[in-house]
Symmetry: C2
Subunit: 554 residues, 2 copies
């Protein structure tokens, strides 16, 4: 099935995340479908089930065979008849049909299938699920659902091999990437993507113009519509679930970037700008957009309309070029949806905090609330090597404002290609941003994990605290650096305060005291206090200062 | 002067930050005073001067002698006569006096001395500068100025030595900590602090109750006002610039924490809670608050009124206990100011994003806009080992809303004691949060650094990009991982796209093209485009596709 390549991806990371196991739960109202959760087993006998993006790789029962790929699960699912020529989740949703994919997603998100269908029908959510990628576990991107994150992987002309990229895909989804984008630009683009597609449990996105550019040896002026179209079809056939198309970079917008501090920073945007200027014609992505729609709806590939003119610096944020393109993306959104094709909209980039909300407001206004999918944004330019952090600040805020999916940024942004460790740091950082936004949006169930972890922390259940965290391995490692011994993981203190004193322990004593005295409301408290402080103090002494016993023994 | 200790801090990190040198500039209207800047030298012959917290340690001309400490610079400065019995910056500011400290700060912040005086007089800013810490370089904490960050250091019963702590102080201020807090709780508290005070170029804060607790062998019920008072005086005499005092933890608030998920998480708060409950009396910090004011104003030590009941989890954010204490801090603020004592207010903690702004609003309302000084807050509980990031999200947002100083959080938060690397990561992360907030608040000059770095990025001045960043060492290291050779630092491409194609390069071509065709406004663009695309295309071809030459040669 694949061209042989020099480096075979024969090993990837498998096995459960520390303290968890894979559990499959039934998808209601289906013919025996199940969906996976990551079950965290707590030392107090309880458990917490978490949304699970990691696929069969974390299932101890699964046999992983990279050569043959993951099971083609969705091939067996019920596929409704086309509606108005479109076999897409959007067309079906509009027709009132709830697909198996929608039921699966509703179960994962713990919402009703009707909500899933309605949000897809409105174009406020997308389900990137190419019919030719039956290995994927359906997921949804939309502001009514949990905020999603994407991890970019892909080799470049100067670095990385296929094996590394497949492992990065498995690795990224292990730690929580909801989708991955294969942005390969070097050799073996087709083969790399084939290995990734057949083994990816999460939807895969691409930027097809990158491969098209390789086909003309890197000279954007030699690109043609025909070559691009063939590339799109090639990728649709492989099963790519969503594609970034920079169709909003119009000739007349390009000079608007001339006075910018950082010009055009999107690769796709600059490729199209080069083509437009060289030919002095409107972009073929724009002029052939309806043909693109016809192709994508065959496969139910989702458009990710690219922001080729996104700002690459704080100075360029929210400028005329950026918003001119966004208006054009709004036009294209309407066209795509008229073909029954699902659409999301890509956003910046570099934006100072006070200009973030405006991006979401305009996007929703111009693009009929199509899901917004942003890259960060970075809240400042001054921290290369820490741009996962600069961008997590912007990402959390833009997600709170309504962005549906966040494209991660790794510590290597602006500096080099991320390695496996960078991918993990990027994913965890973006899970933090996404989850923070879920909390701020009041997403149902989001706080369950915070509460479970905080209860574990309060009760000195160290192991549970580790296992409930986004990265149990690192949490445990950091703890063990100061207090490596196994008893320290059950100790009622930590290295911050040492064994003599611990604020958490005193808090537990306060709780016991309040309960003993029936103090739960302000009225209770006032009543008890009114009984006289001296009296209570005496009672306390009578008890041998018992509630502080752990302290006075030190 | 100091008790001999087993481990001498004989070596600390010295020398300039990569690409920078220390320059002293005159403080206007003073008798020859100068203030330091970190000058970044760019490869294009320009330079950028940055606010510099690092003290003499980054000055190649300075002789560092830890045994004798830094020069007692401020001893030679003009000290106005007391006003109403108070020799404090607040008293002087109210009397219309502009002190040398205010002029020094105005020069550092690039604002007028009158603004500094007025903000201090209003109580909206503080200058933590104990008369007995003449080694410190004056700085200001207030919402009208650049957002500041604090780094906590200090040993604990189970870890760390004096030498390590002194190096952490030098190291933290090297990377940008505006103040440091010595939170030592283990052995040799007095000696550790003495070494830090005498060698610290930045203000030093403490939580005196920690040392008081050591004096009663860790049993909070044995604390007394007299013992606490003596500890305060001991620390005032040593030169501590600001002190956290948890005087707002009242007996009647304590039971409000009983139903919390994480109870009382502040060490100081829980110590006082333990004392109050054991004695069933109101906290001696509260009942003796006026005596405290009398002591602190002797030295011009600033109150940092602690939030002993701050939330320790998302579930507990903005609850009754937290805001009850805040109201009491408001009362105490008025009392302290009536004595001429400067005050700032400490804030949380753990707060989901949508509840952050309310903290600032209430603090300003209740505490007469006294500078707010927050610990993060963490925007979620689920990422131990990454809490520098969860908290940077909250910190950036709360600073945007008006918080004046951010207490850093390191990756080891909740898990262990930070080592030297953790301190650096914490400081850099908080510089990101503070600077992002400065940008969002439109702080004058803040964007200069972003623009300089982005211009360097756009022009492929790699060395300048590294040196303008918050952490030149790590930025260069990450770049070199993929492209280690020296020529790569002048190459017009990077490892993300490789040599064949680079969006930044195309942008430069677009700029050249627009300039050649006189396209700078939308009107120009429309006019040029109206001349006919075919014509322009022909012209472009006549030029041999010159603007894309770098691409077509590949």
């Amino acid at each position: 099935m694949r061209t042989p390549v020099s480096t075979d991806p024969t090993t990837v990371t498998t096995g459960p995340i520390q303290g968890s196991s894979k559990v499959y739960k039934p998808v209601p109202d289906t013919d025996g479908l199940t969906f996976p959760v990551r079950r965290v087993h707590l030392t107090n006998g309880e458990h917490l089930d978490l949304y699970d993006t990691s696929g069969p790789y974390t299932d101890t029962e699964a046999t992983i065979d990279l050569e043959n790929g993951l099971p083609k699960m969705r091939d067996a699912w019920t596929k409704p008849a086309p509606v108005d020529g479109a076999s897409t989740q959007l067309a079906w949703a509009r027709a009132g049909i709830i697909t198996d994919e929608m039921r699966y997603i509703a179960a994962r998100e713990r919402v009703s299938p009707e909500l899933v269908r309605d949000e897809v029908a409105r174009g406020r959510a997308v389900i990137p699920a190419n019919h030719k990628h039956p290995e994927s576990e359906p997921m949804i991107i939309g502001k009514a659902f949990a905020v999603k994150i994407n991890a970019n992987i892909g080799n470049s002309a100067v670095s990385s091999s296929i094996a590394e990229e497949v492992e990065k895909m498995v690795w990224a989804s292990r730690w929580g990437a909801d989708t991955i984008m294969d942005l390969s630009t070097g050799k073996n683009i087709h083969e790399t993507r084939e290995w990734i597609m057949r083994n990816s449990p999460v939807p895969v996105g691409t930027v097809p113009i990158y491969q098209a550019l390789e086909k003309v040896n890197g000279d954007p002026t030699r690109l043609t519509w025909e070559l691009y179209r063939d590339t799109i079809i090639e990728q649709c056939e492989q099963g790519v679930d969503y594609m970034t198309v920079h169709a909003g970079v119009l000739l007349r917008y390009i000079p608007l970037t001339a006075k910018r501090v950082t010009g055009i920073v999107s690769r796709g945007g600059s490729i199209m700008a080069a083509w437009c200027l060289a030919h002095h014609q409107e972009s073929f992505l724009y002029t052939h957009f309806r043909e693109l729609c016809e192709i994508l709806r065959e496969y139910d590939v989702t458009f990710s309309l690219g922001d080729g003119l996104r700002p690459g610096s704080i100075a360029d944020a929210n400028d005329e070029a950026q918003f001119a393109e966004l208006r054009t993306l709004g036009e294209l959104t309407k066209i795509a949806k008229s073909y029954g094709v699902q659409v999301m909209i890509e956003g910046p980039g570099h934006v100072p905090m006070h200009k973030i909300a405006e991006n979401v407001r305009l996007e929703e206004e111009l693009c009929e609330e199509a899901p917004f999918y942003t890259l960060g944004p970075l809240a400042t330019d001054i921290a290369p090597a820490y741009d996962h952090i600069t961008s997590a600040i912007g990402a959390a805020m833009i997600a709170q404002a309504g962005t549906a999916m966040l494209c991660y940024v790794t510590p290597k942004e602006h500096l080099g290609l991320p390695n496996r460790d960078d991918v993990k740091v990027g994913v965890i950082t973006y899970k933090i941003a996404a989850h923070s936004a879920d909390l701020a949006k009041g997403h149902p169930h989001a706080q369950e994990r915070d509460d479970a972890l905080s209860r574990a922390r309060f009760e000195f259940r160290w192991i549970d605290q580790f296992n409930l965290s986004l990265d149990p391995d690192t949490a445990r490692e950091y703890h063990d650096e100061t207090l490596p011994a196994e008893p320290a993981k059950t100790a009622h203190f930590c290295s911050m305060c040492g064994p003599k004193f611990c604020s958490m322990r005193i808090s537990a004593d306060v709780r016991e005291y309040a309960e003993r005295n029936g103090m739960s409301t302000q009225e209770d408290i006032d009543r008890v206090l009114a009984q006289g402080m001296a009296e209570k103090s005496a009672e306390f002494a009578d008890n041998g200062n018992q509630v502080y016993l752990p302290i006075s023994t030190s």
